[in-house]
Symmetry: C3
Subunit: 302 residues, 3 copies
């Protein structure tokens, strides 16, 4: 496996995470026009074996901004329909001259079978497992907001059991000294995740992250209507009023309006939901830059 | 809504329409190599929620010719399948750094719910409603042919009831002083549209526009075969002979050969069907140029 | 039909084939950075009416490397779903400003109805018929390996009846003086193709080409398991040991691992399977270069 791959947050030391966050910030300020030098450009292949708007087009935006050409594999029109293994598909793209692979795949840790692929792989989501660039954009959003991560109180509410966001944020935030609590329906509690009462934790939080109900993965609470879910576990206008003055609202999106969150809060002053998307492009630019072998801006300038 | 959006022909004054037509003509002559200056280039997202070849790849051709990078959303592999609203999808693309949206969507006037999107939106067809770039290319085709629009006799025949082309051409042509008549099956007549006998109007027309039977939208005349339709309402070889010497044939395509029109007329001397497609790229270049904030060529050169 | 089209191997003289192979070799060495000069660049449309990974993304890689912009038609979201003929679709792309068409289509010799299309067409596979760029990459792989084609002993084994590879390789290899034998199940023998006993021919061959079982086209041997097929007609570890020292293994891919070939042989020292893919990009660059009207490197330098 190429060491410039990014598969899980565990692969990154705190220093490496900070390097990526700082590069992302640089892409938003002093280095907004930076592109990969022509001689170092590689063809990128975006292999999305599951539907995605945000992540897919965030990578595509990042690729174009960096000056990279991107090919998009639509699974339905590919040899995956002919039974080709993921490994053979990846080796194929490598042989065809592509230099970076961005992969989303429904299988947990699909990348374990890709060890002999030599070009860097960026994980854009594996099953219920990891989604490191989503985690990085969440960290960047909090980091931009508060200037630090340690000591932050982060409340994550919803479908914790099925959420890549819950798992990777918990791990990364705790590494940086943040305090993480969870809330949501009992059916979606998860071992090792400290659950709390949602209403009691709301005033405690600096950051409230509402998770998406992944209906397309079969997630549902038996017999509960959307309105009931919102009332019991969603971010209502009443709950928003109990948040700290400076506290912010996040959500990985796409949002189920009126279910996880009141539709009027999606673009309220506290909401960073669309800001998260902007930050997603910045961290993906940083991760792609790293994959192509460039040292962090700060360091390379030393 | 961004004022550089183009949603319906009604949004454009006659002067603005002429500006676009003149820019399109310039793209076919003195400005054929003109590209958006690098510093003004924006990422474009083509969001086609309905099948399309002509319009989709016409925009893509126009975008590439202008030097723009284009991302293509295939609805089946997007978060639309996860129930995301169109508004949230558009705000997402905006947040991801895309600077222009080209949208085709099955819902009439889908853009009414997009008022808070800040980047320009170009309507590439809404349900049975509007299709302004199709109308502009039709106008350009007649304008190129006759040098003027006022006083032209235009006969539009076929599925008038379901046709975006019939509606927007009627309105635009009448604004420019053209005379518009309709013909076709009684089942497809439309209130406010002056119907006439097809065979009587053929010798009157300078332009005969044959409409597509949109079978994919369920359009059909009960119990009528293709051959019968052609005989009664289609452009046959016999009818073509009764056209004025200088009169031309148009069709928005894709053509149902042998139904709306005899297959031998599709590329006959009078036919402007493929010329219309060429003109479509030119008007879309003009519309994209306008969306990115450039004044018309003529004016900017004053 | 544009004379720079490439539809079948029969269209090419031996001298033209060698020109393409030499250009492909040049793209791998002295001309690796060569791009189409900006003033000669054309938009390319990749029209794949059947699933494909290798061929599709090989062309896309070749196009990008040459500096060309590529549009991808996904049949499901195109007007093909509205019943448009292939001829009208191709004429449409021509009218829209595309300068080269790369087409894969399930119908044998689909290109026979495209004679009036003026821009070059590159056949990326027609039904059970032709796949000239696959043949050229196979020739290049053997040519690179042995420095010549005449006198080579080539053994092609498997689903000969349904294989575009078998047909076009037989013809081209014999034109260059190679000896071609076939092997495989009786059900898949083909008139005019000299069949032999697989095990007897293995030690005879310089090149063993294992064909893919095209299950997506309904190919199967009644009542035979994958393991049985491998044992009787596949390339097993035992058979590989009986190959000549310098003999190589080829396969058009995607591979059905453990059926046509033992999974451990896919990337063994003798295997050129992924090398074939690299060569595919090189020959497609040469074929695209030719389609855009450039003389072979050697000649143009004279």
């Amino acid at each position: 496996m190429n060491p410039k791959s990014l598969l899980t947050m565990k692969d990154l030391s705190n220093a490496e995470i900070l390097d990526i966050l700082n590069d992302a910030k640089a892409f938003n300020s002093s280095h907004s026009d930076w592109q990969i030098p022509v001689s170092s450009r590689k063809l990128t292949a975006n292999l999305f074996f599951e539907p995605s708007t945000r992540t897919h087009f965030s990578f595509e935006s990042a690729e174009y901004q960096l000056g990279l050409q991107a090919a998009d594999l639509a699974p339905d029109s590919s040899s995956v329909t002919k039974g080709e293994t993921l490994y053979d598909t990846c080796r194929t793209f490598e042989s065809l001259g592509y230099g970076v692979l961005v992969i989303r795949h429904p299988q947990d840790e699909y990348f374990k079978e890709l060890e002999n692929v030599k070009i860097p792989i960026i994980n854009a989501g594996d099953g219920k497992g990891n989604h490191p660039t989503q985690c990085l954009l969440d960290l960047l959003t909090m980091y931009n907001e508060f200037g630090h991560l340690d000591g932050l109180n982060v409340l994550i509410c919803g479908d914790v059991a099925h959420s890549r966001v819950a798992a990777s944020n918990k791990e990364a935030l705790e590494k940086f000294g943040a305090n993480v609590r969870f809330a949501g329906p009992k059916e979606w509690e998860r071992e090792g995740y400290p659950f709390s009462d949602f209403d009691e934790s709301i005033p405690w939080a600096d950051v409230v992250i509402m998770l998406r109900i992944q209906r397309e993965r079969g997630a549902k609470i038996d017999g509960m209507s959307d309105a009931e879910y919102l009332e019991r576990y969603g971010l209502t206008l009443e709950r928003e009023k109990k948040m700290k003055d400076h506290a912010i609202i996040m959500h990985p999106a796409p949002v189920n309006r009126g279910v996880e969150i009141d539709t009027n809060l999606v673009e309220c002053e506290r909401s960073r939901i669309f800001e998260q998307m902007k930050n997603g492009v910045l961290v993906r630019k940083a991760v792609l830059r790293r994959a192509l072998g460039f040292a962090p801006f700060g360091r390379s300038e030393c």
